[in-house]
């Protein structure tokens, strides 16, 4: 059948199972938006293109499908950049479609022309400039294939306006994707399995480091079975939260810069690290020269360029975590490792004594308390937590017990403020019946306030909790600890959030004292529509433990504890 370029875009999306697109129209993409009227795909009009990319990212994380965003040429496309960089860093399958000036004007600095394939080259897994409509169907199919296979990532398709008008023969099913240079490896070799098993079964103090790759591969069952069969403790990266339940006795929880002290102590004392779908980010390792000095390392990742990038692996396995774990599982043997578990338990007790929530006589309203109250209210139920970036993000990771699979969505690698609300909107389309909490700080939230209008227009029932401390909290914390409390450009004012909510037609609430928190959370949860809660929290409060830059993982800065509190415990 014969179709125009604009029609081919939607026909292809439908065949790829796309139900929702996040976008913003403009001159160079108008033919595509015109054709949209004829196709059963829901388009969500965001208020800024960056949030279209974040929403597509949130949708992809929550659904496991490819998220799609759309923008016009020039400013529309450049606004996508932060969202695409975020998806690139966190390996999220996103397809971005942008309009481009007509092909005969490319390179002439035409109105709203930007070299978008050039701009996005380092922040996409691959990208395309389409100047001939006959190439478009194949490129659409390739783009989805590349975005979701191997190590997933964002793919951008920049389509010249004349291509959108032109027509060609279209038979999507007949297209053969031919990518001779794209051959992701999924399985370990027999040699690698044998060597890995030898290390695993002879290790005294092994530790599994579970990363985002476990979730992306859907290897939750395999991870749990592997850990249980070998009796091996697991800790997770920030994005590995949700790979295995935090109620599982083998799950020590999050490691790294703001991981619990006992988890980092375990990493430093382990004699074998089994790294699964994680990339030894600097926020995970601290100073590399002092990282896990006693450990041999088995590193499993689908991306060969991750093996040996930051740490030297004794056994590097390029493969899909799900397949590799299935290969290893039959050969793993149970070991009691009682001494190892006893050591970890000792460290854990020490950490528990220092827990801020274990403090008596503390009446201050701080974020850990708020997060804990949300957790208590939800009481084990399945909700999705979407965070912004900063202190609240770390506290949400630390203090919300993440029991369910892939229910913690956060901008990890890029750490892009402004992510929370739009990603929450995206996630809500993937999980229409699930309660979704967006947790943000007053800095990041103010980057995405315009999307409150999208929430209302699209009838999203998000529960938006803003932790308002009047500071860019994480930057302030660094300035306090590393710049001698010389606060520079971190004090931030905020509009009256209750009135703001009302202006947008959203229920607004405020909690300023501990006594109000539980009540406000309960009311927000029972309200059928979207809610914006203004939590007025302690202004100068730090995330602990903290591994400062240049320090070893076990040299973390711990929360100062009053002497009497330690004696009480």
């Amino acid at each position: 059948m014969r179709r125009t370029g604009a029609q081919i875009v939607w026909e292809s999306l439908i065949r790829e199972g796309v139900e929702v697109v996040f976008g913003y129209p403009g001159g160079a993409i108008m033919p595509v938006y015109d054709a949209l009227l004829d196709y059963p795909i829901h388009h969500v009009l965001v208020r800024h293109e960056e949030n279209a990319a974040f929403a597509a990212d949130g949708y992809a994380r929550a659904s496991g499908k490819v998220g799609v965003c759309m923008a016009t040429s020039g400013p529309g496309a450049t606004n996508l950049v932060t969202g695409l960089a975020c998806a690139m860093m966190d390996s999220i399958p996103v397809v971005a479609i942008t309009g481009q000036v007509p092909s005969h004007l490319v390179g002439t600095d035409a109105f709203q022309e930007t070299d978008v394939t050039g701009v996005t080259l380092p922040i996409t897994k691959h990208n395309y400039l389409v100047t001939d409509v006959r190439d478009l169907p194949g490129i659409m199919k390739e783009a989805f294939h590349i975005a979701r296979t191997g190590r997933p990532g964002p793919v951008l398709i920049d389509i010249c306006k004349d291509v959108q008008f032109a027509s060609t023969e279209f038979d999507y099913d007949a297209i053969q994707v031919r990518l001779p240079g794209y051959r992701p490896r999924v399985r370990a070799t027999e040699d690698q399995v044998r060597q890995a098993i030898q290390l695993i079964n002879s290790a005294q103090r092994p530790l599994i480091l579970a990363g985002h790759g476990v979730i992306l591969a859907g290897a939750h069952d395999e991870l749990q079975a592997f850990a249980e069969k070998g009796n091996i403790p697991v800790c997770t990266t920030l994005l590995g939260i949700g790979s295995i339940s935090e109620s599982h006795p083998l799950n020590l929880r999050m490691m790294g810069m703001h991981g619990e002290a006992y988890v980092n102590q375990a990493v430093q004392a382990a004699d074998l690290l089994i790294a699964l779908g994680m990339r030894f980010d600097d926020r995970v390792t601290g100073t590399l020269s002092t990282y896990a000095q006693e450990a041999q390392i088995i590193h499993v990742d689908i991306d060969p360029a991750e093996i040996g990038k930051n740490v030297i692996a004794d056994i590097g396995i390029v493969g899909d975590v799900k397949h590799v774990l299935a290969q290893l599982l039959p050969h793993v043997e149970y070991r009691a490792r009682s001494e190892w578990f006893a050591r970890i338990e000792e460290w854990r007790k020490e950490s528990l004594r220092r827990d801020i929530l274990a403090r008596n006589n503390d009446n201050s309203l701080h974020v850990p308390y708020v997060i804990d109250q949300i957790r208590r209210s939800i009481n084990g139920g399945q909700v999705t937590i979407v965070t912004d970036v900063g202190q609240h993000q770390m506290w949400a990771a630390q203090y919300f017990r993440h029991l369910h699979r892939n229910r913690f969505l956060s901008s990890g690698g890029l750490g892009s403020m402004g992510y929370g609300l739009p990603a929450g909107i995206g996630a809500s389309f993937a999980r229409p019946d699930e309660e979704i909490w967006v947790i943000a700080g007053d800095g990041g939230f103010q980057m995405s306030i315009p999307e409150l209008a999208t929430v209302v227009q699209e009838r999203r029932r998000l529960k938006i909790a803003v932790m308002r401390n009047g500071y860019l909290g994480m930057v302030r914390q660094w300035q306090e600890l590393m710049h001698g409390k010389r606060y520079s450009a971190v004090s931030i004012s905020c509009p009256d959030l209750v009135k703001l909510a009302e202006a947008y037609g959203i229920m607004g609430m405020r909690a300023e004292k501990r006594a109000h928190v539980a009540e406000v959370i309960a009311e927000a949860r029972s309200h059928p529509g979207p809610v914006l809660i203004d939590f007025v929290v302690e202004q100068e409060f730090n995330v602990y433990p903290m591994v400062q830059p240049g320090k070893a993982l076990h040299e973390m800065l711990r929360r100062p504890v009053a002497e009497e509190a330690l004696q009480e415990a």
């Binding site: 294939h145 997933p152 240079g181 493969g319």
Partner: protein, 197 residues
Amino acid sequence: MPLVDHSKNGTESTHVLVALVENKPGVLTRVASLFRRRNFNIESLTVGHTDSPEVSRMTIVVDASKTNVAMVERNLFKLVNIIDVQDVTHAPAVMRDLALIKVRSEGQARFEIMQLVNVYRAKVVDICAESMIIEVTGPESKVNSLVDMLRPYGIIEMVRTGLVAMVRGSGYWTGLPPEDGNGMAEEELTPAKTLGM
């Protein structure tokens, strides 16, 4: 000139990678962007046609004392348009660099230079009253050596192509590895459906 060349190519730490790439617009940009982005230090990069119109070939020289060669190789392979990458440093391979050298050659110097050209099996490709252009092909060390010999006469300008390399023997490198059963099979190309479900 002997057909088998056992001379060293450059310094000990020099590694030579060859890559087969799809002959598509922007591939060179992707490679160059990768080197900059990852802070890879590249000595030379040459690109040219192969026997297939769909495939181009790159030869990349990396100084291993400055840059992790394995990471260069893996990151190149990661690019969608790169069909395959080989490190041929330790393979039996022919490696050649071509240089055009414009050198001052007045009076007696002309005859001395002509003798050098003969010794190095180079060619004089242009000659005028004050200078000549010499074309020399060979491993980098040989070209370096001739350049050193010519320098005292006064090199006016010079251009070098950068190294190209090819493994010896009758093997034909398609860039596609023999199927070892560890690659991605067709049925596995669909994404994990279990994500969070």
